[in-house]
C-alpha cells in the first residue's frame, strides 16, 4: 500500500468513522427507546399500566391477563 493511499485512507476513515459513530449512537438510542416504549405499552406488569393499555394489548396480540 502506498503512502498516498494510506493517508487518503486514514482521512476518509476519519470522516466516515465519525459518521459511523454518530450513526451507531443514533441506532443504539433509537433501539433502546423503542424497546422501552414497546415494553411500556405491551409488557409492563404494573396493573395501572396494564389496565390503561388493556385494549391495545389485546388487539396487538401481546400476551395479556
Amino acid at each position: 500500500m502506498s503512502t498516498t493511499a494510506q493517508t487518503l485512507g486514514t482521512q476518509s476513515l476519519g470522516t466516515t468513522g465519525l459518521r459511523a459513530n454518530e450513526g451507531r449512537a443514533a441506532v443504539a438510542i433509537a433501539a433502546f427507546l423503542g424497546l422501552g416504549l414497546v415494553f411500556l405499552a405491551g409488557f409492563a406488569p404494573a396493573s395501572a399500566l396494564h389496565n390503561a393499555a388493556h385494549d391495545f394489548r389485546h388487539t396487538q396480540n401481546f400476551p395479556c391477563h
Binding site: 454518530e22 450513526g23 449512537a25 443514533a26 441506532v27 443504539a28 438510542i29 433509537a30 433501539a31 427507546l33 423503542g34 424497546l35 422501552g36 416504549l37 414497546v38 415494553f39 411500556l40 405499552a41 405491551g42 409488557f43 406488569p45 404494573a46 396493573s47 395501572a48 396494564h50 389496565n51 390503561a52 393499555a53 388493556h54 385494549d55 391495545f56 394489548r57 389485546h58 388487539t59 396487538q60 396480540n61 401481546f62 400476551p63 395479556c64 391477563h65
Partner: protein, 290 residues
C-alpha cells in the same frame, strides 16, 4: 442523524397510531367489551366494579353482592372493565417492580376486585387505548428505524414498507400462530410462559428474516429458516381445552380483525417513516420538532 431518526419515528408512530386507534375503536374494542360481558356472566354474574375497594379474599362475596344490589338495584350493568376481577391488583400492589407476573389464568375465580387504577368506561378508556397505541407505534417506529439504519438501508418509503412487513411478520403473525389473539375471558396458559414464548418467537423470527432477506447466502437462508420455524416446533404454551362461554364466532372475528389491524398499523409505520425520513432530510433541523 439522531434528531432525524427520532423525529421521523415520532411522526410515523403518531400517524400509525391515529389510523390504528380508529380501527381498534371501530373493530376490536366493541368485541372486547362484548367479551367482558360474557366473562362477567360466566363468573358469578356479579357487577365486579360495584364491590368495595378493600375487598379481601375469604370474605363472603355473595352476601356482599346481594347487599350491593339491594342498595342500588339499578347499577348492575354486567361489565367488568379491564378485568378488574382477575386479581392483578392484589398481586402487584404488594410486589411492585418484581418484573414477573405470576401468570394468573384468566379463568381465575372472580371477586377479588382489584384496587388498581383503571380508566373509566367510554371516553377515558378510548383515550388510553389511543395513548397506548401511540406509545406502541412510536416504539415500533423507533425499532424500525434503528434496524434499517443498522442494516445500512436508507429508509425510503418502499424499503421501510418492506421492513415494516417483516416487523409485522415477526411481532404479529409469527406469535399469533402459536398464541392467537385472544379476547378477555379466553382460557390461556400462564402469562409468564406466554410472554416468554412471544418474545422468543418475535426475536427468533426477526433474526431469521434478517438472515434470509439481508444476508441472503445459502447458509444464512438455511439458518434463517431454522430460526423462523424453531419456535413453532418447540411449541407455544399449551392451553388446557376447556369450554369457554365466548361464542367461537366472536373469538374468530377478533383474531382476524386483530391481525388485519396489526398489518395496517405496521404498513402505516413503514410508509410514514420512509416519508418522514425524507421530509426531515430536506427541511432545516429547526423544523424537526414536529
Amino acid at each position: 442523524m439522531i434528531i432525524r431518526l427520532l423525529s421521523a419515528a415520532l411522526v410515523a408512530g403518531f400517524l400509525a397510531a391515529v389510523v390504528a386507534t380508529g380501527l381498534q375503536l371501530a373493530l376490536t374494542s366493541p368485541l372486547i367489551i362484548a367479551a367482558e360481558r360474557y366473562e362477567t356472566h360466566a363468573s358469578l354474574d356479579l357487577p365486579a366494579f360495584d364491590l368495595p375497594e378493600l375487598d379481601l379474599p375469604g370474605l363472603d362475596l355473595p352476601a356482599r353482592v346481594a347487599r350491593t344490589r339491594a342498595e342500588d338495584p339499578a347499577s348492575p350493568l354486567p361489565i367488568v372493565l379491564a378485568h378488574a376481577h382477575s386479581g392483578h391488583g392484589a398481586d402487584h400492589g404488594s410486589g411492585q417492580g418484581s418484573g414477573q407476573d405470576s401468570g394468573q389464568g384468566s379463568g381465575q375465580e372472580s371477586g377479588n376486585a382489584a384496587p388498581a387504577w383503571q380508566p373509566g368506561p367510554g371516553l377515558p378508556r378510548m383515550a388510553f387505548t389511543g395513548l397506548a397505541t401511540l406509545i406502541g407505534g412510536v416504539g415500533y417506529a423507533l425499532l424500525l428505524g434503528a434496524v434499517m439504519l443498522a442494516c445500512g438501508r436508507v429508509p425510503t418509503p418502499e424499503r421501510a414498507l418492506g421492513f415494516a412487513v417483516a416487523g409485522f411478520l415477526a411481532v404479529a403473525l409469527a406469535p399469533a400462530l402459536g398464541l392467537p389473539p385472544e379476547l378477555p375471558g379466553s382460557e390461556a396458559a400462564p402469562l409468564a410462559a406466554r410472554q416468554a414464548w412471544w418474545l422468543m418467537t418475535a426475536a427468533s423470527t426477526a433474526m431469521g428474516l434478517y438472515l434470509m432477506a439481508i444476508r441472503r447466502v445459502p447458509i444464512t437462508i438455511l439458518g434463517g429458516l431454522v430460526l423462523v420455524v424453531a419456535p413453532h416446533i418447540a411449541g407455544a404454551p399449551e392451553v388446557a381445552a376447556t369450554a369457554s362461554p365466548l361464542p367461537a364466532g366472536l373469538a374468530a372475528q377478533f383474531a382476524a380483525r386483530s391481525l388485519a389491524i396489526a398489518f395496517v398499523f405496521w404498513a402505516t409505520i413503514g410508509l410514514a417513516f420512509g416519508w418522514a425520513w425524507a421530509a426531515f432530510g430536506r427541511t432545516a433541523p429547526a423544523a424537526a420538532h414536529a
